[in-house]
Symmetry: D2
């Protein structure tokens, strides 16, 4: 039985998802590509051999020939479309963030609780990245001793938009770090603090954050959206007995001009290509079996990321340590 998937959003991320469904998910068919810009939807649909193109997202969710949905449309549509999927009884792989509003995230959780099941898989694809998988396994395997600290660095060549702000570094970029660290450490945050160095030019400066976890760990996060030199994500998990760190993966190195050099990617796409593939295969398996994927991020995880980001913005603005205050974890997400 082929699973018919609709991809909503035909921008960069949507096109990537359409490609994965078309080329990397045997057992799935790319049924519809939908975008408010119908021409854009049509183009991506044709490129990847989708059966159909459309421009009304809510209608696509409701279609009888759509078994499941991938949401890659603009951020503000994520929660409403996820809610529509839940109402339609269809599983949805929703790009992050679920919402920047904790309240809106709670609405999604409440809808799932009312339905008595999880429908939403959230696109925190880093959980499927081999490096984080190995870090989590090393911790679980006892090789490190108890986790004490985790240091995280996220660097982009440049912000996409000129009006990007430090607050957006916290709400748009940092949630990947917030989520994957929670996932690796298996705990929640207690407090967050934030700083921003001064740049000499007009682009947004990095943000440095320190978080404490409920379990007593200390986590540092640097979000540097204008790092200039390359796309670079690093992490180190420090345990009581040992430490595990992410390598820069490069297949070759070149000796030339008095230097030995390896290359950086210009953006995140090739770095996480395999993680997206694994994540989307887990989603297909979720659709086929109904069993929620072991590694996947849920609505609850989306809520947690939103709460932490909100506290982080306050910490940056007020120059102080801000508590991270969350509701109790609902039974459904235990």
């Amino acid at each position: 039985m082929t699973v018919r998937i609709a991809v909503i959003g035909a921008g960069l991320m949507g096109a990537d998802h359409a490609k994965i469904v078309a080329e990397d998910l045997p057992g799935a068919a790319l049924q519809v590509v939908c975008d408010m810009d119908g021409a854009r939807a049509r183009k991506v649909a044709d490129t990847h051999g989708a059966a159909d193109a459309a421009s009304d997202a809510e209608a696509v969710v409701a279609r009888a020939d759509v078994d499941a949905v991938i949401v890659a449309s603009p951020d503000f549509t994520h929660a409403p479309l996820s809610l529509a999927c839940i109402r339609a009884g269809k599983r949805v792989l929703c790009e992050k963030p679920l919402s920047q509003s904790p309240a809106e995230c709670r609405q999604v959780m409440e809808a799932e609780e009312a339905a008595g099941a999880r429908f939403v898989q959230l696109g925190f694809m880093r959980r499927y990245d081999q490096a984080y998988v190995e870090m989590r396994e090393a911790l679980a395997g006892g090789k490190l001793g108890r986790a004490l600290m985790m240091h995280n660095f996220h660097r982009n060549v440049a912000t996409p938009a000129a009006d990007f702000t430090g607050a957006m570094a916290i709400t748009n970029s940092a949630p990947h770090e917030f989520d994957v660290v929670r996932h690796v450490l298996g705990t929640e945050y207690a407090t967050i603090s934030a700083w921003q160095p001064k740049r000499s030019d007009a682009v947004v400066a990095p943000v440095v954050m320190v978080l404490e976890t409920v379990a007593g760990q200390v986590v540092t996060v640097e979000i540097n959206n204008n790092a200039a030199y390359g796309y670079d994500v690093r992490a180190e998990l420090v345990g009581e007995q040992a430490s595990i760190a992410m390598n820069q993966v490069a297949y070759t190195r070149i000796d030339r001009d008095l230097r030995q050099a390896t290359g950086y990617d210009a953006d995140w796409r090739s770095r996480y290509a395999e993680a997206y593939r694994r994540q989307n295969r887990a989603f297909l398996h979720f659709i086929e079996t109904g069993a929620y994927p072991a590694l996947a991020a849920s609505s609850w995880d989306g809520y947690c990321a939103a709460v932490v980001a909100e506290a982080g913005v306050r910490a940056l603005n007020e120059g102080r340590r801000v508590p991270v205050e969350m509701i109790a974890r609902p039974e459904l997400y235990a």
Copy 2:
């Protein structure tokens, strides 16, 4: 139109191919798994959802519901089954070697020439490995200047069988190096020399080879089938202006017990998993379009590997520089 593929041979390699067809080749179906041991065929067929299992390879090649064939049965069957595929007008992805006998390789080439087309794609999957792809691109892009030397190291934890010999290191393991170096450098070999250090134990010692190419390059190859420490393949291409070398790819490193360490694989399978996937996708594209894949190794490449290996064995036995004597490259393989 789904392409129906038969996998012949249900050992380690055959099972891997069956898995790739079943899970990583959208557009392809695993139609039959065939093995002289019918129970083994059935088991692999069931594991990967094949439509059928069989034990008569020649019959499978001839089946009307089989569009193309992957040959992963014992080495001596490779050429006969490739010939059967050519006769049946079906494309075949044949595991290396095509044959250890140059004469038998020539029979396959002659069959293709008679048929007026290439049917055989040979499983020198290293050509699809990202590191070699980057080496070839660096050379083509002029970053290195003209190629002068290539150094190659192939190390296994241990030989599978106790009766493995130095000659087998040359005929069974080294062809991967022979082929990928020819492929990267874009030239043929002129001479080969070989040495074997003495081990203190009963297992087969490494073989060190030096080859000269027609274009005047010098190539070194170490085949160390009992390296003990891990599965490790290295290569460096030295140009007149710069050098490019393969990195050991590891996603994480661990600091523990006064050491910083990264892991080696115990065998080749995870190292080349992506190369196999790419190779088999290229094969599917070949079946679908009829266009011979740009990177693929052909019968001609299988012949070249066999000739070099044969000369290498002579060089080792006679302790001297042996010329590599090949027929002219037939038009079909230009």
Copy 3:
């Protein structure tokens, strides 16, 4: 004219200094080794061929056959002995800290100001370490753009004493980081914050600090005195255009047991052996020429380290961002 040097303190550090004077400072003679424990002084004196041994430090400072002094006795003696040297008009290389009390550091500065010259070179030897030298040069050379952040990690296998505390991590270990970061960045600190994760055992947990500089940079410092895995110091300086990071220096790597590994030192001594040598040669040059060494840390730098450490302890105890409040830099240290 041979320079006659007295080494005060014959413990681990004192013995190392005696060795350097005896073996690595052509033009200098090891005149006296002094220790409250006269037998210990005698032993080090004999080992390194000193002319004499003694147990009264103040008397040694005053001796006519002593041209200059290296102070490596217990911390509380550093400032008093430095003052004695100033009074005697003799240059002194004083191990860090000058004093943990900013007030006492000011007394030393005032004595130098009264004498109209700098006599004290403080043993922040990291400034002479090749990695920091390269970081400073890269910054000065404009390769990085303006400095934005500096990340620092200091890890020991284990604390020497069982009664080591988090406050001591800040006052005893962190000053090396405080000083070298100020030195590399060329600025002072404005605020400091501190955290401590919880360990499951009785040993002291790491301390994580975030400092802001007057120039608007953000600095992170991890002091992990029970890191277990090895002696490991790391630093990364992130600029607006590029980043420079310290490598783990190891001359060889070993492939064995499915791992590629390089070694960590068990303590700081071999890691900084060359920095000590360079520092002490700079001291000899200072004695010989009277010109204060370009890279050296002065009493002012000792004062700055003490002020920051004091603020860091308050930040840890009070769980808040604490301002770093220093006197204006005296003319003598401009």
Copy 4:
């Protein structure tokens, strides 16, 4: 008792030796700098505070105020000056090669045998390089199992002179490799073979050599005097159980322009600065104690290097495997 050392030769190497004697050998004095070009001798003498300058090397060797000699004059003077030192009963640190003529090396050995003692320490300073020290220790410590192979790569940015030849790569550059490999493996060579790839330009092409040892190991050596990209020496020692390889030592790395890069030196001087220092200190200790240094290369080692190089040139010219034929090791060098 200060040891008075004469340095003969005031070129690049001689000036470096004069500097080491003046600055890094406490207990030694730079007594004379001698060069056929008296003005050059005077300049180096003045730079490093030598007591005297001279232009007649034989006379310098005979001077009563010279206790020992360092020979860094042109290659053809090495053996004659070493003989003069032996006659004068003075220890000599002679730069490599002792002589390119095995017969002349034998004359030096015979002079030492007649005198009943070793006087010559040969400047194969690589034996003091930390990486080779660690390789030798790993082998001796049993970590690797029995040695099977050693791979060696020597790369220069460019040959100093336009008339450099492949034969000179073997006679002038390769002896460092020949010697240090013998030293690490503790055995002699049995055969040598050599190849040279073709370059597209006028500069000398690399030479690739394969040597067999008497103990049954296989050694590869690449000498690439026009490698363009940097000064780079690599070595790997492969044992039956494990492998140890030399790291590229760099204190820092820079992330910039989509690359992570570490630097190469432009020449050998900083790479081996510490090895030269250790070697010369061993020479001083030899002078002071009369005990021949454990790691040092002797006249015998100079003879061995000359014999292997001579055979290597024949192997290159004749395109065949050439036996390395040496006299039996005299008792004095046991």
